[in-house]
Symmetry: C2
Subunit: 96 residues, 2 copies
């Protein structure tokens, strides 16, 4: 876990939309991009464009916080908590 990885993880967590996506995936993983968009609309009507959500998902994936796999023409996104746990154990822990 080097500085660049910690940067990616904390930057990914530094946006309310991305934190909400993680919260969604913790409730239930294996969600498609469309399902995630729909959940945003359902929750508060304030919808972001599909491409915007997709970019957030890319950033979460680059940080290792989600994993993806293709099922036919849909790509499913799942939560991966390992980076948060590593960032906590290897850096944040000393402040807690």
């Amino acid at each position: 876990m080097n500085d660049e990885e910690l940067d990616l993880i904390f930057k990914a967590l530094g946006d309310a939309t991305r934190r909400r996506i993680l919260d969604l995936l913790q409730e239930r993983s294996e969600r498609s991009l469309f399902e995630i968009c729909a959940s945003f609309v359902a929750a508060d009507g304030k919808s972001l464009s599909r491409q915007t959500i997709s970019q957030h998902l890319d950033m979460l994936e680059r940080a290792g916080l989600i994993t993806t796999s293709w099922k036919g023409r849909t790509k499913t996104h799942s939560l991966n908590v390992a980076p948060m746990q590593m960032a906590t154990n290897q850096w944040l822990k000393k402040y807690l």
Copy 2:
């Protein structure tokens, strides 16, 4: 602890320079801007300008991660771990 505060905290942590400043202040608090600059040079020779460090300190202060007080013509910076603890307890904890 609302979304904006969590944004500020995680964004502040998403930069290696700022994490290093926090690490420095945990070793010993009540450091001036000049002391912090000097510690950076001493550690690896790779120095950032005084104003750049000052901007990082501003961001850390906006996130509540450091507190400041004036002693004559020097401003001392001290660590405040409360925001990290709150962010952990109120959001991050569920993933650990």
